[in-house]
Amino acid sequence: MNEADQRIEAIHDEGLESGLAQFDEDRVKKIIKKVIEEEASPRLDAYLSSCVHCGLCSDSCHYYLSRDKDPAYSPAGKVKESLLPLLRGKKITPETLKKAAIISYTHCNLCRRCTMYCPLGVDIAYLISLVRRICYLCGVVPLYIQDTANSHSATFNQMWIKNDEWLDCLYWQEEEAREELPELTIPIEREGADVMYSVIGPEPKFRAQLIYQAAVIMEKAGINWTFPGTRGWDNSDMCMYTGDYEMMGRLKKAHFETAMRLKVDRIVMGECGHAFRSVFDTGNRYLGWKTPPIPVVHAVEFYHEILTQERITIKKKLATPVTFHDPCNIVRGRGLHEMAREVVGICCDTFIEMEPNREHNYCCGAGGGVINCGPPFKNERVLGNRVKAEQLLAAKAKGAEIVVTPCHNCHGGLEDIIHHYGIDMEIKFLSDIIYETMEI
């Protein structure tokens, strides 16, 4: 048994175990047959039959690079160990399913970097998502991410936040902000506003200052904006990552319905990557919308717009040298890397690049729902991203003291890496540095 297998064997996760306790091979095979015959794109067959097993995808994967090039962590290796036993194995055992679940949910961030490195364009993230879909239908999902998906089902946000708590947070932040700007309002349910601002659950739960900062930026930029007062305010989506596409559709419908009901021109999203993927790419398509029915603008694009149009002005640039971590879902997922750099350039004196960067960035290790799988998998996640720590250390050696990244998951992932590898760096959102440097 290789090291990766030993690590998988040692994992104990209540969500996986409780699902495996109901294991029935016939049922699992029926599920796999249904997924392949009714749901899977024919691209699956094209990918599997045309992959020449050249191994060129390997060097794209931060897990592989961080794990001393252990082939079990290479993208093709992960497909071999997770998808192929389900599709081609004569016998499927609970161990097969458990291994497939652990690899697909926690050894791959669905960051799509490998697609860029595979000369044939095999979409490994798609293949791994199929494994997750099968595992979800079999009820074998890590506890923490399933709990988050349950929160989505129960409350339509990822943090079990009830409607009064959401509204209360908005009133509270308005009250706080009025001490700084007495005229400020956080408009709730403003029908006909230009912009609906949507955030993810952790903002009202743990990072309410981001709502405050957003309100100040909106106010000073003179934006006609609103927050929804109902379900649909949260744009996050762990169901997309568990493989619960039905619930993903329900969440996205609620989100877009809210924007349509409020008659806004566009949705501006807070600094989150996975939510952008869900709203811009995955969720809308599942529902039958080619593109988001209401234009979706990520915070990076929005900040770029208001800064370049001089709707807000920067009072004094941040003197501390900063570096920038490119979040996969808005860089490989939307090409916002240059805009982000321009925003950083407008607000900061010294910018230090990490290498590789832009589309070739390494994922933070938290994306794709991996951080949401919780403590049983944290060690794997952090050790599986040593290359990111090396990138940060290199930037630090050049003088960077702050790493800016416009994504909540990246914050979580980088915090763990910084802590584990003892890197003395601060992590900030773009809105943090804009708020810190703007004229108020």
């Binding site: 209540e14 969500g15 409780s18 009714e38 239908l137 009820g139 506890l143 923490y144 399933q146 709990d147 349950n150 089902s153 129960a154 409350t155 079990w160 009830k162 409607n163 009064d164 509204l167 209360d168 009133y171 009025r178 007495p182 005229e183 309002t185 408009p187 709730i188 403003r190 029908e191 006909g192 506003a193 007062g229 109902t230 379900r231 619960d244 039905e246 559709g249 329900r250 419908k253 877009f256 349509m260 008659k263 398509r285 529902l287 039958g288 919308w289 080619k290 029915p293 209401i294 234009p295």
Partner: protein
């Protein structure tokens, strides 16, 4: 008697021409900061109410009445929310004071004070309800009376259009974070003012209730992968991988809902598939008020949207989205709003009307369907789109237009800028 959608109560249907009153711009507030977006006109259009911040901490509800020079001002409160008209001339809203939250309906505050109140609902029949939270228990209230039971959480409180009934999704059991077992055991059901249903579901989403309050239904998640419709505490015998919110026949005789079959979405009635077609998407079913027709938004192909009327697709396709269809009171006409090629579009009986507005609100029809009108926005101005033509007015705020029950007039109510001040106008437009 139910008030048909898009028409207005008859008692004040005697005026003609227009009436207006001046809303002086507060001296200490820049005009662009005047919160017109919070304005609400009474149903008869004779009054307009706007919550106005009287200090950084307090606000008041200012109400102007046609023919009266001065507005009336409510007692200062901390917050006013969910302002909406009730009955003909009154307003209802939620307000926060130092003691907590309460609701005010027809100028009378309810007796309760809760830690929080939200989702104020007002029915055409004049009932008002809201959801409240006190001491971490959640209890809806209807006309000032609390429901018989309180819950871990409530969601989507809805009121019967005319009867006294109310329904909401309720969570009956607490779920600790990380407790998958309790979640899987089913902690949600539909609650009414009389108590919760006996069935427990893993999830319940959009409660609906018939206009007389006798039938309630909800789209429910039965297991992690199975969904169905529950009607008056009985689940349909069939389950699907997904369903959308149901609709109840106006006479309460049947319940319909979009369901996802392996070949696509279709419409089911009382547990059985009722439409032959299968679509990429199908949702937002609506009955004509007479119950003879049913329309829904359908996507016959990926990225294309149209209306399906009684199972037949309309010809017009849009590439953005379509919203819930609206029938005329007589059921002969159907319209809806949407987006096509990035522009707002209004569909009336399969005829698209676009390019004339940036935003458009749900259309209203006259009693017998001979006229259709919709509130629209062009640039910064609001006006009305009537039978294919925009009325040349420039309102900075307006409410949805309404037809008089006799179909002789269209009533528009809006605020226009006039010098340093604003004028609220109610106008009757004679129809041919």
């Amino acid at each position: 008697m139910p008030i048909a959608q898009g028409t207005s109560p008859i008692i004040w249907d005697t005026s003609s021409g227009s009436m207006s009153c001046m809303i002086p711009c507060p001296v200490d507030a820049p005009s662009e900061r005047f919160p017109f977006w919070k304005a609400t006109a009474s149903r008869d259009g004779t009054r307009i109410a706007i919550p106005i911040q009287s200090s950084p901490e307090e606000c008041q509800l200012c109400t102007w009445t046609l023919g009266e020079p001065e507005p009336t001002r409510s007692e200062p409160v901390l917050t006013i929310a969910d302002l909406q008209p009730i009955a003909d001339q009154d307003f209802s809203f939620l307000c926060q004071t130092d003691e907590g939250w309460t609701a005010v309906a027809r100028n009378v505050p309810w007796e309760f004070q809760a830690e929080f109140a939200w989702n104020l609902r007002v029915s055409a029949g004049g009932n008002a309800a809201c959801e409240t939270q006190d001491d971490r228990r959640y209890t809806p209230m209807v006309n000032g009376n609390v429901w018989s039971e309180s819950y871990e959480n409530t969601y989507g409180l809805t009121l019967a259009a005319t009867g006294p009934g109310s329904a909401a999704v309720v969570q009956t059991t607490p779920i600790a974070e990380g407790d998958l077992t309790t979640f899987l055991s089913g902690c949600f059901t539909l609650g009414t003012e009389k108590g919760p249903w006996s069935g427990r579901y893993m999830g319940a989403f959009t409660p609906v209730i018939s206009s007389d309050g006798t039938v309630a239904a909800v789209d429910a998640r039965i297991t992690q992968q199975d969904y169905t419709i529950a009607v008056n505490d009985q689940c349909w015998p069939t389950t699907w991988p997904s369903v959308w919110a149901p609709v109840i026949h106006p006479q309460g005789t049947s319940v319909w809902a979009p369901v996802k079959e392996s070949r696509g979405w279709t419409l089911a009635c009382d547990g059985e598939v009722a439409w032959p077609g299968r679509y990429t998407q199908l949702w937002e079913p609506v009955f004509a008020p007479n119950g003879r027709r049913i329309a829904a938004v359908a996507s016959p192909e990926f990225g294309q949207w149209t209306l399906a009327l009684d199972g037949d697709l309309m010809k017009t396709r849009v590439d953005g989205y379509l919203r819930k269809p609206i029938f005329s009171p007589c059921g002969s006409r159907v319209g809806c709003t949407g987006m096509h090629k990035g522009k707002a579009v209004l569909l009336i009986d399969d005829h698209p009307m676009g390019d004339l507005f940036d935003k458009v609100w749900d259309p209203v029809f006259s009693q017998y369907g001979s006229h259709a009108a919709a509130k629209i926005k062009r640039g910064p101005w609001y006006t009305v789109f009537l039978d294919g033509m925009a009325i040349e007015r420039r309102f900075i705020w307006m409410r949805n237009p309404a037809f008089t029950p006799d179909g002789m007039h269209l009533i528009i109510c809006g605020i226009e800028k006039s010098g340093a001040h604003y004028h609220y106008t109610r106008e009757f437009i004679a129809l041919k």
